[in-house]
């Protein structure tokens, strides 16, 4: 019985580890371009690390980029 419980816990931990690694890999693929977008907009590139937050991280980054004034300037309304 103890062996079965230990096996289940071990498998669960392993699954969790793979899930975390997968999340980190996906986040990395998102962080690199977002880092560049943030720096081009004039924000700190570290803002893109919000992608590490599961589920809502991308919403936070997009919200900041969409609703704040870009320090490096935005396209003037005439160019849009």
């Amino acid at each position: 019985m103890t062996y079965i419980v230990a096996s289940i816990l071990g498998l669960g931990s392993l699954a969790l580890l793979f899930l975390a690694i997968g999340h980190l890999l996906v986040a990395l693929v998102l962080i690199i371009p977002t880092w560049r977008i943030c720096t081009r907009a004039g924000f700190s590139g570290a803002l893109s690390l919000f992608h590490l937050i599961p589920v809502i991280g991308w919403l936070i980054v997009m919200g900041i980029l969409a609703f704040s004034t870009w320090p490096n300037g935005e396209a003037s309304p005439g160019r849009r």
Partner: protein
């Protein structure tokens, strides 16, 4: 059993609601972000719609990478053919290469007026009649001809340069921390001189000046 089904349905409902709200928010924010970069807003909306249409694909990632590394219209030098050159004797961060004059001159030869008020409440007004090729906007008291003084701590010494050429008015930021803005959009030193003939307001640091024809 019924309770389990209800819980499952509730979970699906919540997930679906989150997905719908997230999609609408993403579309709205993508519209705004690409507009700030100078692209038409519908391209951002289209990207999100494409992402929704091709669920769980690599499409959003590709679009994100393309947007991050593409050339943004915002960064294109709008003043490349304006015909402004660096006037001699006027301080600046780097010499601006003299460019060829514009192919056509504008018929409107009136000057400009810059009016505003300093944070202390004092009014300020400058007349730009085009008699000089350049004017320097500075936070220090005007020491020589062509210097326009805005005595405010947020205004650099010097802060920006106004250039006149062929009936048009240009503005160039000289790299001060307070920043220079044209109709709310930040002007950076690397942008060079920008044509502000049709602009309504410029801001130097915290001092906002309304621009009008004299």
């Amino acid at each position: 059993m019924g309770l389990d089904v209800a819980a499952l349905m509730g979970l699906f409902g919540l997930t679906g609601a989150f997905a719908v709200v997230g999609a609408v928010l993403a579309a709205w924010m993508a519209w705004r972000i690409v507009e700030k970069a100078g692209l038409p807003g519908w391209t951002g909306l289209g990207a999100v719609l494409l992402t929704l249409a091709v669920v769980s694909s690599i499409v959003p990632l590709i679009l994100l990478w393309v947007f991050a590394f593409m050339r943004w219209p915002r960064d294109e030098p709008a003043t490349a053919a304006l015909g402004y050159g660096a006037p001699s004797g006027v301080p600046g961060p780097s010499p601006t290469p003299a460019l060829a004059p514009p192919p056509k001159t504008l018929a409107d030869r009136r000057g400009w007026r810059l009016t505003g008020s300093l944070p202390g409440g004092r009014g300020v007004a400058f007349a730009i009649d085009g008699s000089a090729a350049a004017y320097v906007l500075t936070g220090a008291p005007a020491a020589q001809a062509g210097e326009l003084s805005l005595s405010d701590p947020s205004v650099g010494q010097p802060h920006a340069r106004l250039l006149t050429a062929a009936g048009r008015l240009g503005l160039e930021d000289l790299g001060t921390p307070g920043g220079t803005f044209i109709d709310g959009a930040r002007l950076l030193p690397e942008h060079g001189p920008r044509d502000i003939s049709a602009a309504r307001t410029i801001r130097l640091g915290s001092v906002e000046l309304a621009l009008s024809r004299a």
